[in-house]
């Protein structure tokens, strides 16, 4: 299993996302390392199809497929949930579904 966390340092949410991801991985007994990939420029964002920070991909699949196709940008990513709320980090449920 490959687990990537792509982030841009201009957004403060990646430490929170990493901590949540580590927690969920631990609960599932998954020991695969998290590969942290820093996105520095707009060109890199385009090359990596980076829709905002943080973006988590498990075996290449975005944990939030609905937002994965947003235009590449160096900005904080918006995660929208079924109850209408928004967050700068994916939900525990999204991570668990991506790992299932």
């Amino acid at each position: 299993m490959t687990i990537e966390l792509l982030f841009w340092e201009g957004c403060p949410s990646h430490p929170e996302a990493k901590a949540l991801l580590q927690e969920v991985l631990g609960e599932h007994g998954i020991r695969a390392p998290i590969e942290m990939r820093k996105v520095r420029t707009h060109e890199e964002a385009v090359e990596l199809a980076f829709p905002g920070s943080p973006t988590i991909r498990i075996d290449g699949r975005d944990v939030d497929p609905a937002g994965a196709g947003s235009p590449p940008v160096l900005a904080c990513r918006i995660y929208r949930f079924a109850d209408g709320s928004v967050s700068p980090v994916p939900s525990r449920q999204q991570l668990e579904e991506a790992l299932a």
């Binding site: 201009g10 957004c11 403060p12 949410s13 707009h42 940008v73 160096l74 900005a75 904080c76 990513r77 918006i78 995660y79 928004v86 967050s87 700068p88």
Partner: protein, 174 residues
């Protein structure tokens, strides 16, 4: 970048189709400027609380003005047209203006969105920083902005005068 000590002079286009200048708020005993934008999830998380504060303090003359200084060339979702749409969809009860030149953001010393600046009746800065202490509203234990407004209305010093703003960076022009 250091934070401003007195309210900056401004005259900026608002989403209501007219300009808003500092003098327009002369009668307000407290003026709150909030560095803001459309696209940031932290703004989206807090804007409802900012809206509620404007409603709560409106009858006491408090005015809140949100200022979007982000570079719309690199972040098109922060264009003026998107501001108009966002303010309508979110039911903003406060003025929302565009600082296209970014002069006001620079004058304020802004770094993040959202980032609040509370000015008393003499337009001296009495509070700068976060709206409260938690992005998740049910988890909030310290209401920094509300407490600062209450203190300023009473002519007192806020219990907390400065906190680190939490949010997206201001998107400066390159």
């Amino acid at each position: 970048m250091s934070v401003i000590e007195t309210a900056p002079t401004f005259d900026l286009p608002g989403v209501d189709g007219r300009n808003h200048a500092l003098e327009e708020y002369d009668d307000a005993p407290v003026l709150v400027l909030v560095q803001s934008c459309n696209h940031c999830p932290y703004v989206l998380a807090w804007e409802g609380r900012i809206n509620a504060l404007q409603r709560e303090f409106a009858d006491r003359g408090v005015r809140i003005v949100a200022i979007n200084s982000n570079d719309a060339a690199t972040h098109p979702t922060d264009s003026f047209e998107s501001m108009v749409e966002h303010a309508r969809e979110s039911g903003y009860t406060f003025d929302y203006v565009q600082d296209e030149s970014q002069e006001i953001a620079r004058a304020l010393g802004s770094e993040r969105t959202p980032e609040a600046f509370v000015f008393d009746a003499d337009r001296r800065l009495v509070y700068h920083g976060a709206v409260d202490d938690n992005r998740e509203e049910p988890e909030v234990t310290a209401h920094y902005l509300r407490d600062a407004i209450e203190a300023a209305l009473a002519g007192e010093t806020p219990p907390v005068a400065d906190t680190p703003p939490v949010g997206c960076t201001v998107k400066w022009r390159s």
